[in-house]
Every structure is written in C-alpha cells, then in structure tokens.
Symmetry: C2
C-alpha cells in the first residue's frame, strides 16, 4: 500500500501526540510509536522504561511487541512504523528483526541528545571493537560452547526466523 | 564482586546449556542468557521469537526483562550478563541501556552467521546512512514534532533513565 505524504504526516503526528501524552502522564520518556498496516493503526505504544522497570521498553519495541502479538506473527509484513524519534540502536535492531516495509520518524537522534538521551554513545559503542567498549566484554570461545549451534544445524523441526 | 575465570566458565556453560535445551524443546533459536548478581543467578532465558511471536524476544532481552522485573529496577547494577552468543545490535543496545557491570559471551557473531543468523547484516545497516538502508527510512523533521521534547525539558516530575 502506497502512503501519501499527507498520510505519513497524520500518522507521525499520532506518534508524536502519544509521546507528549506520555510526558504529561508522567509514565516515561518523551517517545511514542505506532504501527500501520493497510492504512490502519494496529499498535500504539509509548516509552515505559521507568514505569515498567524495563530498560527495553522503548516506544518502538513496545509497539513491535504489541503488533506482532496482535498479528500472531513474528514479522511485520507490509507495515510502516512511525516513531516520534529516530530509533536508538536497540530499536533499530528490533525493527530490522521485525522486517516492516518502511520506517518514518520525526525528531533526530541529535534532537534527542539535546535533551539528554545520548543514543549516539551506544551507536559509537557498537562500532568500536570489543576491547574498547565501556562495558567490559569477555569472549570465551570453545568447541563445547558451540553445541547449541550443532544441535540447531541438525534439527529437523526448527522454525527459521 | 570479582568473578574468577572458573566462575565465568560455569555461568557461561549454564547459558549454553539453556540454548541447547531450547533447541531440543523446539521453543526457538539456539540462544540462552543468564544474569548473575553477587554470585547468584537472578534470571535465565532463551530465545522465544517464534514461540512468542515476538521478534524482540532474544535470550538477552528476555533475561534483561526478567532480571529488571525481579529487581524492580530498570538498571542491572553490579550484574554480569552471560550469553551463549555474541549479542546482536538489538541486544547490545538493550545491554547498554540496562548498564550491567560486565558481559561474557561464548559463540561469536561469525559462528552465528555460519548457521544462518546474519546479525552482521544488521550491524552493517546501523552503520550506513539513512538513505542507504534496506528498509526505506523517511525523516520528517518539523518544529511541531519536537513538542514532546519541549514538554520533557520543562517537566519537573520526570524520572531520568
């Protein structure tokens, strides 16, 4: 389904309005996201990190979880994700795993940094080598530890995703 | 708390065993993760993407959600995350938001790619510009869309995270 610029603006405004409502309600950060399929909103969500004590509960992740639960599918085929802000690396990763058709966002990560959300720091950490990460990271490779992968490779009942 | 190499191996083996059990049970991908605080396991989880129809339900995300729920805190202070495999960008982002003390993992992303989990593709997508992403991405900046950020900046009741 082709979205017009007018449609995009309308749906993006809804994601932004959710973000504003979230701040007014004191429920979490100033972020909202919605997911649209065939011109209809199938999920709406806000950031609920502090409310739910869940550091993964960003607006985009919450919206993806709600939408895929509703669709009973782990993929967002033909969907557009509208986010009030450019996704952080966690949310961008989640979006790639969910495989929607499009992503539309309003504020940039630069705008977010100006009010104290330093997603740029995580973008940077992802790009540097393990030995230079701010969270000490240890790789312990061994043949034994690859047992799950050998099982997966030889399993006849696996569902690819 | 300082972990010995022996402790690290023991806890990492538990994450790997969970991954193997997950494949045998047919519940999802060959990935497991545990979270340890003060020498005790406070959360254990496996990949449940296909079982839960949730593309965000990777082992590390599931473990972080379980641990922070149990701690009633959105941060994993003084915790170590043990993962059977090097985290994908979504999980690495989640780990950075959860702020544990350490990360220890077994298989590498190269090992995962060999059995068909191409996290490297998402790592690459994160690094390229918006205009070159495989999921078409549209940035629609406007003054009106920054309203949630203005509200956040002037809010006296916000909880930083």
């Amino acid at each position: 389904m082709i979205m017009s610029t007018q449609d995009d603006k309308k749906f993006l405004q809804r994601a932004v309005d959710l973000a504003s409502e979230n701040v007014r309600a004191g429920k979490g950060g100033p972020f909202g996201a919605i997911i649209v399929k065939n011109g209809k909103i199938i999920a709406e969500a806000c950031n609920s990190v502090t409310f739910d004590n869940d550091p993964t509960a960003h607006a985009e992740v919450n919206a993806i979880r709600a939408a895929t639960k509703g669709l009973q599918n782990f993929q967002l085929d033909d969907c557009t994700i509208y986010s009030s802000c450019e996704p952080c690396p966690m949310c961008l990763g989640a979006i790639y795993w969910a495989r929607p058709a499009r992503l539309v966002f309003a504020a940039s990560k630069g705008d977010a940094a100006e009010i104290g959300f330093d997603d740029a720091f995580i973008y940077h950490e992802i790009e540097v080598g393990l030995e230079n990460r701010s969270i000490p990271t240890l790789h312990m490779p061994s043949y034994e530890f690859l047992e799950p992968f050998r099982l997966w490779k030889s399993s006849g009942e696996k569902i690819d995703y």
